[in-house]
Symmetry: none
Subunit: 196 residues, 2 copies
DNA sequence: ATGGCCATGCGACATTTTGTCGCAGCTGTG
DNA sequence: CACAGCTGCGACAAAATGTCGCATGGCCAT
């Protein structure tokens, strides 16, 4: 299997910059198609991109060459991308990490940020948003306090996520605490959160 | 107007501890009823509580005596409670701050945590959850046998009641806001306030 | 290694709860 | 009065949930 680097796809007009000065970016997501698309987009934006699809590989690569930037998916096959955030930060506190997830919730967002993620974005997301997230300094303006009420479905999702994270993602325990059947909780978790 | 301190309501059995050793807690929320209830609950849990309803007063009090703990509402009348988080942290980085919000969103959650909030919780919350939030260091499952978080049914009920009240008990409007069928809302309201 | 214990993912099927329509009554307003 | 909006409720299909059961896999003490 060939090296998964996309530098060779760089259009000429981007070559004005010396490759050795390109910031390094590590992408970790189990969705391979998504990885490919994102890698291409980020390469075009001047990053030297590497891809991995699981935590193990990510750590191997990161230990070999600590990336300056990282994009981590929250829901990897089995484990949580959160542990990766922690470890990447441990390797180099200066690493800028954007956490992505199709199952966004405030509970996981809080965890991610506390562990050192630079930002937390919900899929679908485009490369420009990720770029903005990397640059984002905390106090930055655009935080709309508007806040329209969540739908009950969304409220429930957020609540479940909170109890779940408070219980180490143990579904059985969470189901018992919430007085709901494990099967039902599974089904709810399988669905993506409705937007509003 | 008397000082808004609730130490005088402390039951005797709590006096075993010297008042001067009680941790100080500053509550900032524009909902005065909510403040009162929360203050009482936290006092009972051993805090020396102070209340303010706006940023200005909060800063004045904080500068006079930096609190060790703070509970900040996200939506204060005009300004955002976020700026307060920042300022409290500037006064004393050790301050533990829990941010509360009526309408949770990942965006504000991310901001709050990046600015230094210890945790971010959506209303309705009970005092025990706030206590847990203060103690919660990132990541680990301390699992202090949380009491009984409300059941999802109960949470939903509380939430619906709140939105309903905010809309003059107009069922149609509330249903639309909540993205739920009017018929369904009716049926939910017809049922009893869910036992836990 | 072996059995016990528990968490998990998921199929299948009976029950319940929602989503939808529709209609009739009530109320304020131009 | 006509119009428009809110409300309560019946009826029936569609979707979600409660329940069982089973197989897999991790952990641990025997």
């Amino acid at each position: 299997m060939p090296e998964l680097r996309y530098n060779n796809t760089l259009p000429a007009y981007d070559m004005i910059e010396d490759i050795s000065e390109q910031p390094t970016l590590l992408i970790i997501d189990d969705d391979k198609i998504f990885c490919g698309v994102l890698a291409k987009a980020m390469t075009k934006r001047g990053f030297s991109v590497e891809i991995t699809h699981n935590i193990e590989d990510a750590l191997t690569k990161a230990e070999a060459a600590t990336p300056e930037y990282a994009i981590v998916d929250l829901k990897l096959d089995s484990e949580s991308g959160l542990v990766l955030v922690e470890k990447l930060k441990a390797l180099d506190p200066g690493t800028r990490i954007v956490m992505l997830t199709g199952y966004a919730s405030v509970a996981t967002a809080v965890e991610a940020i506390k562990l050192g993620a630079t930002h937390y974005l919900a899929k679908p997301v485009d490369a420009d948003e990720i770029m903005a997230a990397f640059d984002r300094i905390s106090g930055e303006a655009d935080t709309p306090i508007s806040a329209s009420p969540l739908s009950v479905g969304r409220l429930e999702w957020e609540y479940i996520q909170r109890i779940l994270t408070e219980n180490d993602n143990n579904i059985s325990v969470t189901a018992r605490i919430l007085n709901m059947h494990r099967r039902t909780l599974q089904r709810k978790l399988a669905k993506k959160p409705h937007r509003n």
